[in-house]
Amino acid sequence: MPSTPSIEVTSLTKRFGPVVAVDDLTFTVGPGHVTGFLGPNGAGKTTTLRAILGLVKPTSGRALVNGVDYRNLSAPAQAVGAVLESSGFHPGRTAHDHLCIVATEAGIQRKRVPEVLDLVGLGNDAGRRVGGFSMGMRQRLELARAMLGEPEVLVLDEPANGLDPQGIAWLRGFLRRYASEGRVVLVSSHLLAEAAQTVEDVVILSRGRLAAQGRLEELLRRVSTSVRVRAQEPPKLVEALSAAGIASHLEGPDMVVAESTTALAVGQVAADNRIVVFEMSSSGESLEELFFSLTDRDASEAPPQPPGPPVTGQPVTGQPVTGQPVTGQPVTGQPVTGQPEPTGVPPSGNLPPGSFSR
């Protein structure tokens, strides 16, 4: 077994009868940061994860964990922890008993059971029957099961489902910390904004094929966008932008529209030139846009993009913007936190189901 944990998927193809669920998929996931496994519903995410976990037999190709087929791992539950959506519980069994059974099966000491229950915040519910658990509690219990063997590789299928905003925030922090300790964490999601708050790397799947892989930050940079700015001296801003190599034009009395750029760049130009900006919003520079372009969704199929809300609620009258662009955070590390949230999305990232999946 290699010393660094990894997931390697090589030319993986899985057919269910005439349906090709996964089509010649190749990617690798390394340790150190959370990797998002993204794609619309039916893109083949779950099938791929199940192939990695030995639950689904590939039609062709391989899916290896730490260089080994899951079914040949000497201690699979100690190598890989998995949170799967469709995994179930006997409603009449207590949380404690459920985990004890898995521990026994996997050859893990039972003293881990109370530890993982405490870890996921179910310490006081250990003796309760799972039938009375909420969906969020079941999801936590799944995570507890995955953590029993203190695995070097963690695979999670839509883990945020059923969790409340606090639970999602907790999970986000937990996964980041876990990955930063040199472990592999692969998280699937069809909710872009949710995933974007957790992941650094992405593997994007479309119709069973690899659509993109890389740093989320870099992928976002590729998306061309326009930035609308309300400023005190629009012509001056157009000039300044042009000097910075950014094409822009005037619209109305005080609106400047800069093309193929980012709010970050425009804000920097405005600040450098000491131009007062009242309002700035980027349109198109959204994860959905990126997602749809990568997963080659027909544009007509996509819902109309809500115009990005103004970055500042109030015009910043009287205060010249200096130093920092209005969007607040440079796009590093947490690429999305500085993005304007799509309308209707609470800041926690707890999106209503289906927000982006349709």
Binding site: L53, L55, R71, P76, A77, S87, H90, G92, V102, A106
Partner: protein
């Protein structure tokens, strides 16, 4: 612990930690007593029905054994159901995912379940036999038989226990083949309760190869002397053992090669 003992222990825990196991075994126990009492003491019970025939004298050890074979036939379906649940319960509640994640060697899992089904069937059998013994003592006490005579027939009790244990193995085999709980139960109970009586009445030579009569052959091991008419055509006890093991292992093997091997989605 080896992988097999780990897996067997986990399978025992799976049964031990849910109420349904105890409910099922308890119902089997109480029905055995209730129907046994009905047969023994009911107004048109054993005494009346067998009057004038080769019926053994009321309260004798033969009479007790005769009654016990009837209790046995009540307990057997419970052993079967328990055996079926051992596998199909995992698919029904989707715990099979966590089972196969912890132990990806599926044949090993099915093997452990077969082992545990023996224990589960034994539990059903022990309770049913205990019920029969309690009833038997009551009957013997109220008539001219003796307790020691009755206890002398331990081979029948052992045969009955083995029958119950192997009947659960057969149930687990059915469960492995069908995976679907309802389908496995319908087939298992359908063969026992619907098909068997018809076949037994028409072609007894075929019926004795079926699981129900193979199990009966075990309970009747010593008692094939003619006073229970149906036992005439039964297999010898070892034939019953062989057939039940074959049913369980062949069905489970088929299941492991097909249904259990299939993708878990």
């Amino acid at each position: 612990m080896t992988a097999l003992t780990r897996s067997v222990k986990a399978e025992i825990d799976k049964l031990r930690t849910v109420r349904s196991t105890f409910v099922l075994v308890s119902i089997g126990f109480f029905l055995t007593i209730a129907f046994g009492a009905l047969v023994a003491f009911g107004p048109r019970g054993r005494r009346g029905a067998m009057a004038g025939s080769l019926a053994p004298p009321h309260g004798s050890h033969r009479w007790f054994l005769d009654a016990m074979s009837i209790y046995g036939s009540i307990a057997l379906p419970f052993a079967l159901v328990l055996g079926v649940l051992i596998i199909t319960g995992e698919y029904r509640h989707k715990t099979v995912t966590s089972t196969f994640l912890a132990e990806p060697r599926r044949t090993l899992v099915v093997g452990s379940k077969l082992v545990v089904s023996v224990l589960a069937g034994l539990c059903v059998g022990v309770l049913a036999a205990a019920g029969a013994l309690i009833l038997g003592f009551i009957m013997v006490a109220g008539s001219h038989g003796t307790s020691s005579e009755m206890l002398g027939q331990y081979e029948n009790v052992l045969g009955f226990l083995a029958g119950a244990a192997l009947y659960a193995v057969y149930g687990t085999g059915l469960g492995a083949l069908f995976k679907n709980q309802v389908a496995a139960l319908i087939v298992g109970l359908g063969v026992d309760l619907v098909a068997l009586p018809i076949i037994s009445g028409t072609v007894p030579g075929v019926a004795r190869w079926l699981p129900g009569e193979a199990a009966q052959a075990l309970a009747h091991a010593v008692q094939r002397t003619g006073f229970v008419n149906t036992s005439v055509h039964l297999l010898p006890w070892w034939g019953g053992v062989g057939m039940l093991i074959a049913y369980g292992v062949v069905l489970a093997g088929l299941g492991a090669a097909t249904a259990i091997r299939a993708d878990v989605t």
